[in-house]
Symmetry: C2
Subunit: 181 residues, 2 copies
DNA sequence: CAAATCAGTTTTGATTCGATACTATTGGCC
DNA sequence: GGCCAATAGTATCGAATCAAAACTGATTTG
């Protein structure tokens, strides 16, 4: 974990990320979409119901909500996503993938086929959280690593923030309110 | 290395890459640059003298050379890079960072501080090359892992493709002609 | 030496981008 | 209740990106 080594890891992450961007861009072009569209669709496929809003996407992708809002308009027009107004807070609109949008993210996953040894998984997880922590970024992890998550029984989950029950699938998704446990 | 696990690794790489993009975007905005500008500058800081051209950047980043050409024009105008015509092949122009551009890449490296265990390094390397291979991408590795690289003596390197001598620093940079050894 | 290839630029029109200003809703606070 | 700040989201603006295609020149190939 020395400083000399941090640099070397840096280089590999830089190149891995660059390669991933390149593949995503190629995929986007083939689908007749912009890069950011694919980013948005991919995010919507992994975020939970507290995090499917314009602002959350803006936070996750690091772009202004104005830009995101425009792109969302286009994605809705193209029939890839839909937006539904929140019943309680009428300012927020929940975004979700329509079947057409979901099939794009499915093709993306197939198109960029990643392989890695099993040992890599926990290490990548650590790397990710360490980067988030180092850069002072909050949020965007799954319930399983969140301090608000409570598990009153087997396969039963409750979010300590919202006091709501969460399904087994739901707790695997990423949340903007996430705080490391 | 099973299929069930490939998916899990996928998820982590996706999120790691997304986080990295987000940090790069924030950095770009702070520097008054576009995302792609930072990508180009970063690439120029790690590529060797065979790979510092418009076409190579286009291949590495996965964008059309027309787009790259436009961005390069702006970067030159801003005094971040310079271009020098090749003495032999007058079609090609070699691009390089000016001090102003180099300082941006230095700040980028400091800004996105990545930490990881030593064990991660060889695994990331394997992951990277496996993705390149799986996606049928050629090129963009360092001489040290290239089959053209020859080492007639200690700290002495020759490229089997160009028959040119390469310095110790040079062989650490990435090359568009790279082929795995 | 002509044709094909290659490196790079230019042009075009749709779209992104950040910045800013704006509407509408919500929440606090007296 | 009523006022004001905060929040979610959209609209507008000008500069810049983006891919696609057409276009120079230079080089290689046949």
């Amino acid at each position: 974990m020395g400083d000399t080594n941090a640099n070397a890891v840096s280089q590999w992450v830089e190149r891995l990320s660059a390669l991933h961007r390149s593949l995503m861009r190629k995929f986007a072009t083939e689908e007749g979409l912009q890069f950011v569209h694919v980013e948005i669709l991919q995010y919507l496929s992994i975020c939970n119901r507290y995090s499917d809003t314009t602002q959350a996407i803006s936070d996750y992708l690091g772009q202004t909500k104005g830009s995101i809002s425009q792109s969302l308009g286009l994605l809705e027009e193209k029939g890839l996503i839909k937006r539904v107004q929140d019943k309680i807070d009428k300012r927020v609109f929940h975004l979700s993938l329509l079947s057409k949008g979901a099939s794009v993210t499915k093709r993306l996953l197939e198109s960029i086929h990643l392989d890695g040894s099993e040992k890599l998984e926990p290490q990548l997880k650590n790397l990710l959280t360490s980067i988030q922590k180092k850069n002072g970024l909050k949020g965007f992890g799954t319930c399983l690593s969140c301090r608000f998550n409570q598990s009153p029984g087997k396969n039963s989950f409750v979010c300590g923030l919202t006091k709501e029950k969460l399904s087994v699938d739901e707790v695997k998704k990423i949340c903007k309110e996430h705080e490391a446990s």
